[in-house]
């Protein structure tokens, strides 16, 4: 694994999100708790809504366009909706957010 430092934890508001640009498109970082951040695709599989603009609750995010709800641990859409967003391994070390660079590359190859 090759961990890339994305920035300080505090740059992402609690129950909020920020985006990271990658070659494969935007990834959203969701801060679900004081020390808990998830990384997932920023693009809703329904109609491409920007998930980082959604409301974060529990370990879930609600898409701002038509209210699909995604579980940030599995990436699965909840309830009757069917769809999945890619999720990426992430670590928090001494208040910094680190993402696994390989996962970004692998995902692209897949």
């Amino acid at each position: 694994m090759s961990w890339i430092d994305l920035g300080p934890l505090d740059a992402v508001p609690e129950r909020g999100a920020r985006i990271v640009k990658t070659r494969a498109g935007c990834i959203a970082l969701f801060r679900t708790g004081p020390d808990e951040v998830f990384a997932a695709s920023n693009t809703c599989p329904h109609k491409g809504g920007p998930l980082s603009e959604g409301i974060v609750h529990g370990r879930q995010v609600t898409c701002p366009l038509h209210n699909w709800v995604f579980d940030l641990e599995t990436g699965e859409a909840q309830g009757a909706d069917r769809g999945r967003i890619a999720t990426y391994p992430l670590r928090i070390v001494q208040g910094r957010i680190l993402i696994d660079g390989n996962s970004l590359a692998v995902d692209r190859a897949a």
């Binding site: 090759s2 890339i4 994305l6 920035g7 740059a11 992402v12 508001p13 609690e14 129950r15 909020g16 920020r18 985006i19 990271v20 640009k21 990658t22 070659r23 935007c26 970082l29 599989p45 329904h46 109609k47 491409g48 809504g49 920007p50 603009e53 959604g54 409301i55 974060v56 609750h57 529990g58 879930q60 609600t62 701002p64 366009l65 038509h66 209210n67 709800v69 309830g79 009757a80 909706d81 069917r82 769809g83 660079g101 390989n102 970004l104 590359a105």
Partner: protein
């Protein structure tokens, strides 16, 4: 000794039959239940709300595994019965045979598929079961996906509305000249079509499908007249056929459906049949109400009780939220038949009654169906209506007696008046249930099944509860806010004040929220209630706001934003216009539009440019127009005495004063105002949340208007003599609304609940009014700030930009 009962088909009819049977003779039967679908019984008619996203599958399951286990029903789900061997008395399923003493056939019906070329392509489906619903939901998930629904009857339209709500482009093809021609006449069909078109659904009538074209999947639908419609999904909803194959092969007497007698017994004394698969005295069935009657009779027959099925008149409703239609009886034109028609084109209301020999024989209503059940009752009774002929169309309220009040009307209904059409429950049974101890809607539902199917009669059942229990019944004014709590909006508002809850965690904790930090439904509401009630103590939480309010701009469908600067009272200057033009050029704004609220909208601004464009506009003295907020939007004005020869007062000036006083305030829903200089009303003040019309002697303030999904004229609140009083009343009204309304209710909705007289009484008291104004101003001391200025700082700018840019990295 227990007898062996085998049931073929776990559908709505057999489900009900099993309930009756188990209740009447618990343990007397050893039951095996086959179902071709890999699941047990669910409320099939609620598939439409599942499709539209208003309900989840779990909510419509009527019998879960636990129920079957508790009643010792052996379930063979996902197993189709292939043959019935009547000599050996066994049924042969996909995984072996099961012997029976009695057999109940309830195989329902199969959707009819037009055998045109291409009907078997992937992507062509019917609308019958959960799998079809899932397939539609999945198809709607593809961006830009298009659906063609063949058939503009009940099912087709529910499918079309659901798919449209999920974002698909939908076209409905209908062979007849108007929609739902079996239930509606042409006028009502037209109104329905107009309503659906307003939702963005394309309707083609007299459209005959020639073929469905595609390679591995459906691609297009070609009509007889040569029209071609691109399609990723084709839903065929052109009718159903009783599923009789199995019965036919077993040698039972079968016509259109499986022949049964009044006891639901087929031509074989040990085999009964119920539901859409049967034919009874030449009739077949397609709605649940008669099936439930059949189910009851079948259960009684099985336990040896005398019972007979008698067909009844049926009424129809369409389960598309926001569309109100009702039809019952026979409404074809004919010799000796007379029509009474009432139309209100402005409100889209149409009612037609058909009378023959002084009896009502048919009713069609669109737009306002409140009296539907009353008319339906008259049709079923065959009552002589000659006495009330003149006023009949106006409904029960006009038939002598002061029955204007809905509660009084319900109280006056006779015991045999039908309340729940699906389950055939009359008022008498509900009253009996209440007298037997039922005190809530849930109790009544459990005991009588009233409102347990399509749910449209829920309000009526509650009124029966209220009329019977009097003060002991608290009319539920609202549903729980969401799945995180049992409490309604009103409860939460009250408890926040009563218990002094001043933060979101305090609300979650003290009021027992079931989720750690709520969900996207309750968080924005609670955030609003807290900031409205505790302006000094509570801090607004941006993470509990919908994206528009967090970004202070309206998100567009492509993820860009729109920017609307305020123009006080619709007045601007050359210098402001120049600044707007410069910004539009500098940030490549693709669309510049004049809005209905007398200002200019810059559409298509990229998210990361927002702080910069705000900074530029701010520098020219422009501030946010809050065109995105649940707050004050605009105050529209006419030119008034300044320029107009009719003007009686300075309407522009008053508008500007009001906008300067009210801007920046958060309200339960958006609030729009207007001030017209005279009753010619050029500012359209009579359809605003607050509209002021100036007259020679002063100012007429109207409230509760709207011109959105609902169009409403304002109701007069008060007339005052001076401008200062007009401002005071307006501010006090808005504060009262802020303190009492539930989140996402516009003033007219709120007024509908609390009543204008209460508002007039409250505001009429000068002390109360002054206190409201004071509380409003206190809140403004915190919240009247320009969000653009606050977010034009370098630090805020960074928050709008990506946290990191890895496009150069991780490429190895």
């Amino acid at each position: 000794m227990t007898q062996k009962l085998v049931v073929i088909g776990a559908g709505m009819a057999s489900g009900r039959a099993l309930e009756h049977l188990i209740e009447a003779a618990p343990g007397a039967w050893n039951i095996t239940l086959f179902n071709a679908e890999p699941r047990g019984n669910y409320n099939r008619i609620m598939l439409s709300p599942v499709l539209s996203g208003e309900k989840s599958y779990a909510e419509i399951v009527t019998h879960d595994d636990d129920w079957y286990a508790r009643h010792g029903v052996t379930c063979r789900f996902g197993q189709t019965v292939e043959r019935i061997d009547r000599d050996r008395k066994v049924v042969i399923g996909t995984t072996g045979e099961v012997p029976y003493d009695k057999l109940l056939v309830s195989t329902g019906s199969s959707p009819f598929i037009i055998p045109c070329p291409g009907h078997d392509l992937p992507g062509v489906i019917a609308y019958r079961d959960f799998d079809d619903t899932e397939a539609m939901i999945e198809a709607s998930g593809r961006p830009g996906a298009r659906a063609v629904v063949i058939g503009g009857g009940l099912l087709g339209l529910e499918a079309a509305a659901g798919l449209r709500l999920r974002g698909m482009e939908v076209t409905v093809l209908h062979l007849a000249g108007h929609l739902m021609e079996r239930q509606l006449d042409a006028a009502a069909g037209y109104l329905l079509q107009k309503d659906l078109e307003k939702r963005g659904i394309t309707v083609l009538t007299r459209a005959s499908t020639k073929e469905i074209v595609g390679g591995d999947r459906v691609e297009r639908v070609r009509l007889e007249d040569g029209t071609e419609l691109p399609a990723d999904l084709v839903v065929m909803a052109v009718g159903i056929r009783p599923a009789v194959q199995l019965a036919k092969e077993a040698g039972l007497a079968v016509g259109r459906g499986i022949h049964v007698d009044d006891q639901m017994i087929t031509s074989d004394a040990d085999i009964l049949a119920v539901g859409e698969c049967i034919e009874h005295r030449g009739a077949i069935f397609g709605l649940v109400a008669p099936l439930y009657d059949q189910a009851k009779v079948a259960a009684q027959t099985l336990v040896g009780e005398a019972a007979a099925f008698t067909p009844k008149q049926l009424s129809t409703k369409l389960k598309v939220t926001g569309v109100d239609l009702f039809s019952a009886g026979d409404f074809a034109e004919g010799e000796g038949r007379e029509d009474i028609v009432y139309r209100d084109p402005a409100r889209g209301i149409y009612k037609r009654l058909v009378i023959e020999d002084d009896r009502l024989i048919g009713a069609v209503m669109y737009g306002d169906t409140a009296d539907g059940n009353w008319f339906f009752g008259l049709i079923k009774e065959g009552a002589d209506v000659s006495e009330m002929r003149e006023t009949l169309i106006f409904g029960p309220a006009y038939q002598g007696g002061p029955a204007q009040d809905p509660l009084a009307a319900v109280a006056a209904l006779p015991a045999d008046a039908e309340i729940c059409g699906c389950n055939g429950v009359c008022k008498g049974r509900i009253v009996a249930a209440i007298e037997g101890g039922a005190t809530t809607l849930g109790d009544v539902k459990a005991v009588t099944k009233a409102s347990a199917s399509c749910g449209t009669c829920t309000g009526l059942v509650e009124q029966v509860l209220a009329a019977t229990l009097g003060d002991d019944f608290a009319m539920p004014t609202a549903q729980p806010i969401c799945g995180c709590t049992e409490l309604t909006h009103e409860d939460v508002r009250r408890l926040i004040k009563a218990r002094g809850l001043k933060s979101q965690p305090a609300v979650w904790q003290e009021l027992g929220w079931s989720k750690p930090n709520g969900c996207h439904v309750c968080r924005p509401a609670v955030n609003y209630y807290l900031l409205a009630d505790w302006p000094l103590e509570y801090r607004d939480d941006p993470q509990s706001r919908f994206v528009n309010e967090r970004k202070h701009a309206n998100i567009q469908k492509d993820g860009t934003f729109s920017v609307v600067p305020r123009m006080w009272g619709g007045i601007t200057t050359p210098q402001e216009l120049r600044a707007i033009a410069d910004a539009a050029e500098k940030y490549d704004v693709p669309t510049v539009k004049v809005t209905g609220g007398q200002r200019i909208d810059l559409l298509g601004v990229k998210g990361e440019d927002l702080p910069a464009i705000w900074g530029d506009l701010n520098a020219a003295g422009l501030v946010s127009g809050h065109a995105y907020s649940k707050g004050l939007r605009t105050v529209k004005t006419c030119v008034g005495t300044d320029h107009c020869r009719f003007g009686t007062q300075d309407s522009t000036g008053l508008g500007i004063k009001l906008e300067k006083r009210l801007w920046g305030s958060w309200t339960p829903h958006k609030v729009k105002l207007a001030v017209s200089g005279c009753p010619r009303n050029c500012a359209e003040a009579t359809c605003k949340d607050v509209g002021i019309v100036c007259v020679d002697s002063g100012f007429e303030i109207g409230v509760g208007g709207a011109a959105g999904m609902d169009v409403k004229e304002v109701e007069p609140l008060v007339k005052v003599a001076t401008e200062a009083e007009a401002i005071d009343w307006t501010v006090a009204f808005i504060q009262l609304f802020r303190e009492h309304a539930r989140y996402l209710d516009r003033p007219y909705k709120w007024l509908g609940k609390v009543g204008l007289p209460w508002v007039q009484d409250t505001l009429g008291d000068a002390t109360t009014r002054a206190a409201l104004v004071e509380r409003f101003d206190l809140s403004q001391s915190v919240y009247q700030t320009d969000p653009w200025a606050e977010r034009a700082t370098p630090e805020a700018r960074r928050a709008f930009a990506p946290l990191a840019d890895l496009t150069m990295e991780a490429a190895e």
